[in-house]
């Protein structure tokens, strides 16, 4: 505490000013005046957990998503809730200075900091497809992630490989859990992740001191526990058989179901319909485009093509769908048996007369004693 006051004073802030700031903060949060001391205490004890945010094979979409945070905003998050010690897109220092502050946190807070990972990790050719400061992503992740208390993989790339892992996965890209099996990892897939799910996860961790309950793909249930399709505002149109058939048609303008336009809501677990994006303003289906399934483990490949509901078998071109393959199988078996029938008939043409005679005989035989047959 003494250290803290000294620090403040060395920056020209008196104890009185500090308490005044705390009460102003309390007022802003609509808290009673008696809370001032508590706020001061909170700031003085400063329990903000250090956070290291790593970017590997990413597009920075999840970092951008972070900037859209609203509860708390990214400004409040960084100033009041966490100590964001390393984030390449935001941090002031570069090069050696940046690396130094990362390593300082790893050493000083070993086993206590949170590691957030954005982007996949290339594993082929010794990991040369992503290096930072001359070190490979694999190397950095093993060191920084390996010593963290908790890892949060943000975005589908970090969770499951995402875009870089799409066929033919040129760089052997993988998600964090494949590099660090056994670590406590929370996946927040999405492309990008919805920042409200990240802030909620952090708040959950800070509030309850533990990671939230997750599904088998390590996704928190509070955000990925239900299917898009089961919360979708267009579900009534799905069940009623009201579908968008063409972009801009009557059904599209009336908010009918996008199932026939390839919507992947029926196979996607994510809270888009209830949480929505950009402070609850909208989400893909609401704005007229189907869901693409960006929070699922096999995104991209299994969720494409985008405007067909089911995937195509890779390697056969765009239209190797289940229907095409299935029709071919049915057609082929019909053709084979038709051919078989034709050959059989031809080969046995001679026997047909005999068969007829036999049949006649059989009928007369049966007629002569009808009560032995019943059906």
């Amino acid at each position: 505490m003494g250290d803290f006051s000294d620090l403040l004073e060395s920056h020209g802030v008196t104890r009185r000013e500090f308490l005044k700031y705390c009460s102003a903060l309390g007022a802003a949060l609509a808290l009673p005046l008696s809370m001032t001391a508590k706020i001061a205490e909170a700031i003085e004890s400063d329990t903000r957990p250090p956070v290291i945010w790593l970017e590997f094979q990413d597009c920075a979409g999840d970092s951008e998503s972070l900037l859209r945070a609203n509860r708390p905003t990214v400004g409040d998050l960084v100033l009041d809730h966490i100590s964001l010690d390393y984030h390449e897109t935001i941090m002031a220092a570069a090069g050696h200075q940046a690396e130094a502050s990362q390593q300082a946190t790893v050493e000083k807070y070993k086993g206590k900091y949170i590691c957030i990972v954005e982007g996949s990790i290339p594993t082929e050719a010794g990991g040369v497809y992503c290096t930072i400061g001359g070190r490979t992503a694999v190397d950095i992740l093993k060191q920084v992630g390996g010593n963290a208390a908790l890892i949060i993989a943000v975005g589908n790339c970090a969770a499951y490989g995402g875009l870089p892992a799409a066929h033919p996965n040129p760089t052997g890209a993988k998600g964090v859990s494949e590099i660090l099996p056994g670590k406590t990892i929370i996946n927040l897939p999405g492309c990008p992740m919805n920042v409200d799910n990240l802030t909620a996860t952090v708040v959950h961790y800070l509030t309850f001191g533990a990671a939230p309950a997750c599904d088998r793909h390590l996704r928190p249930l509070f955000a990925y526990g239900k299917r898009i399709h089961d919360n979708c505002e267009r579900r009534a149109h799905f069940d009623a058989g009201q579908y968008v058939e063409n972009w801009g048609d009557y059904g599209h303008r009336q908010g009918w179901c996008l199932y026939k336009m390839g919507c992947k809501g029926p196979e996607t677990f994510h809270n888009c319909p209830t949480l929505r994006w950009n402070e609850g303003l909208s989400w893909p289906v609401m704005a007229g485009h189907g869901c693409v399934g960006c929070s699922e483990p096999l995104f991209f490949d299994a969720m494409m093509p985008m405007y067909r509901r089911l995937p195509n078998v890779p390697g056969f071109g765009v239209e190797a769908s289940a229907v095409k393959i299935g029709t071919a199988i049915v057609g082929a078996s019909a053709a084979i048996f038709a051919a078989h029938g034709a050959v059989t008939t031809a080969r046995n043409w001679k026997k047909i007369g005999k068969a007829k005679a036999e049949a006649r005989e059989e009928i007369s035989h049966l007629n002569s004693d009808s009560d032995s047959e019943e059906s």
Partner: protein, 555 residues
């Protein structure tokens, strides 16, 4: 006294950029620009449905999150000969416009500002004087002494925790920092305000395209947001009013904060008008189809090429003159690495030949980057807001000329100062201003067209792949926040046969070509003074003036 330094990672940019620089007598005498991350999306795109390409390419980058979608759908539309409805054209303009504005605001305040602003020095400012400074430069609403005192206290409390988070190890107190404490405090306040603003104004993307980053609304042939003034599930008067509100909010900030800040800060850093000039070749593809003819006709900002800084001549753009070299990039070409390939014949055959990690230096004599080297007519080109503004300025574009001349007169300088680090930063601000002022017009045009009863947003005639020819080639251009962007596609049997993107940051960040000619970043760094090789703030300034995006550049 020669010394080779490495800055890796270059932070406050998108992606993985590494600069190696040779320093002699406190100045950079040679430089190498490298990106150290590769994903191979051009390869991943092969054999996929061309209508899906926009969704993949959008994920080249989450910062300029719309631009690769636009270039991609335009490339497919070009290949198939699809004209999109006027409504879709205006919606695209609005989406592109606010992308540029928001991206530029983030760039200036959150990526670039800490190169010029000393956060710690703000603690020594007098809030009353800061208020006076603020009031002298504009009518901005947050300008009271109390307000700045509050900001200062908040920063003080933060600094007081001893845990500076992202501000740890910043270049505080660096000799190249010149702003007085009051200006620093004002800038810190604007840093926080801009953080709030950017997430508001980009909500236009959410209204028109469901979310940001990565709006989900693009379609080959149009847009996926339906229009119907009499439906609650379509673009209607309510949503148009919301968009209007955000445009107004952005305009207020740009006019009262961003532009005044540039004008207030620039005089302290006028030496940077003489540093950071590159090859002085500038390329713009032209953008914002502004009338009924639709893309690629009737651009609001003109296309053109300027060579050697000669503003008296603007040459037309021919996409066939674009080639890419891989002489110094970690790829192989089937015809040998000494030739340049037009993107339709382009190849992405990755092959790493650099040092095995962990490494200290790259092998800069050979291949040293994942970025290819694009050339136009075999010349290196700079792209970006500066190129756009110069091409428009030299073409006599009215708004651009007025605004640029106004800024130059405020700084008391001629157009030559634009060929610099400061020029890039100023041009970006100018562009933000004229773009936000233009956006209302596109919204008006959209509304006027809806009023005629035209609700169409998509041309579906060639939607089904069955309607396509067996083979088709196309290209799509777009002026992204960071500059001239081109996607080239070869469609065969309804599939993507080849896909090549030549991206703004590919132009700017590329390594040397076979003749040894440097890329833009490399050239721009030559002559840059370095006060302290351990704290290479000056390198960051020039790099940030380009607004690098390496995920874009390599893809």
């Amino acid at each position: 006294m020669a010394q080779k330094i490495v800055v890796d990672p270059i932070t406050r940019i998108e992606g993985h950029l590494r600069i190696e620089a040779q320093i002699e007598n406190g100045k950079i005498v040679d430089a190498w620009s490298s990106s150290t991350m590769f994903r191979g999306v051009e390869r991943i795109l092969q054999n996929r449905d061309p209508r899906d390409a926009w969704y993949y390419t959008q994920r080249f980058c989450g910062v300029c999150t719309t631009v690769h979608s636009i270039a991609s759908i335009r490339a497919v539309e070009n290949a198939l000969g699809i004209k999109i409805p006027f409504n879709a054209e205006m919606i695209r303009n609005i989406i592109m416009g606010i992308q540029n504005v928001q991206d530029h605001v983030i760039h200036f305040y959150h990526l670039h500002a800490l190169d010029w602003v000393d956060v710690v020095s703000a603690l020594n400012a007098d809030p009353a004087k800061t208020a006076a400074l603020q009031q002298s430069i504009s009518d901005w609403k947050f300008s009271s002494a109390d307000y700045f005192a509050g900001i200062q206290k908040r920063v003080a409390a933060f600094v007081g925790t001893g845990k500076l988070g992202p501000f740890t190890n910043g270049y505080w107190g660096h000799p190249a920092m010149k702003l007085p404490p009051e200006a620093n405090l004002m800038a810190v306040a604007h840093y926080l305000e801009a953080l709030q603003l950017q997430k508001e104004i980009i909500k236009i993307h959410a209204i028109l395209g469901s979310k940001n980053p990565h709006p989900q609304t693009f379609l080959v042939g149009g847009m996926a947001i339906p229009i119907d003034p009499n439906s609650q599930n379509a673009l209607n008067a309510d949503k148009i009013a919301q968009i209007k509100g955000y445009i107004a909010m952005a305009k207020e900030f740009v006019e009262q904060v961003y532009i005044p800040d540039i004008l207030a800060v620039a005089p302290f850093y006028l030496d940077w008008a003489g540093i950071g000039c590159g090859h002085k070749n500038y390329l713009s593809y032209g953008e914002f189809p502004d009338d009924n003819r639709g893309y690629p006709e009737g651009f609001w900002l003109p296309a053109g090429v300027i060579v050697n800084g000669d503003l008296s001549k603007v040459m037309p753009v021919d996409h066939k003159k674009v080639t890419e070299y891989v002489t110094h990039s970690w790829y192989e070409y089937s015809g040998g690495d000494g030739v340049g390939k037009h993107p339709w014949e382009g190849e992405t055959n990755w092959k790493y030949t650099g040092p095995q990690p962990p490494y200290e230096f790259l092998d800069t004599d050979n291949k040293y980057s994942w970025v290819k080297s694009p050339r136009y007519d075999d010349k290196p080109m700079e792209v970006g807001p500066l190129s756009r503004m110069l091409v428009a300025y030299a073409s006599g574009h009215k708004e651009v000329k007025q605004t640029v001349d106004f800024v130059l007169s405020q700084l008391g300088a001629g157009p030559a100062v634009l060929f610099s680090t400061l020029g890039r930063t100023a041009a970006r601000a100018v562009e933000t201003l004229i773009t936000i002022n233009k956006m209302g017009q596109w919204l008006d045009k959209l509304v006027a067209n809806i009023k005629t009863g035209d609700y169409s947003i998509h041309n579906g005639k060639l939607w089904e792949p069955e309607t396509w020819p067996a083979q088709a080639n196309g290209y799509g251009f777009h002026e992204a926040p960071r500059g001239a962007l081109g996607h080239w596609i070869v469609i065969e049997n309804k599939n993507i046969k080849n896909y090549q993107a030549v991206v703004p940051t590919t132009w700017n960040a590329g390594p040397r070509d076979p003749s040894g000619t440097r890329g833009q970043y490399e050239e721009a760094l030559i002559g840059t003074p370095i006060a302290d090789p351990e704290r290479p703030l000056e390198i960051l300034r020039t790099m940030h003036s380009f607004d690098p995006c390496l995920a874009c550049a390599v893809h």
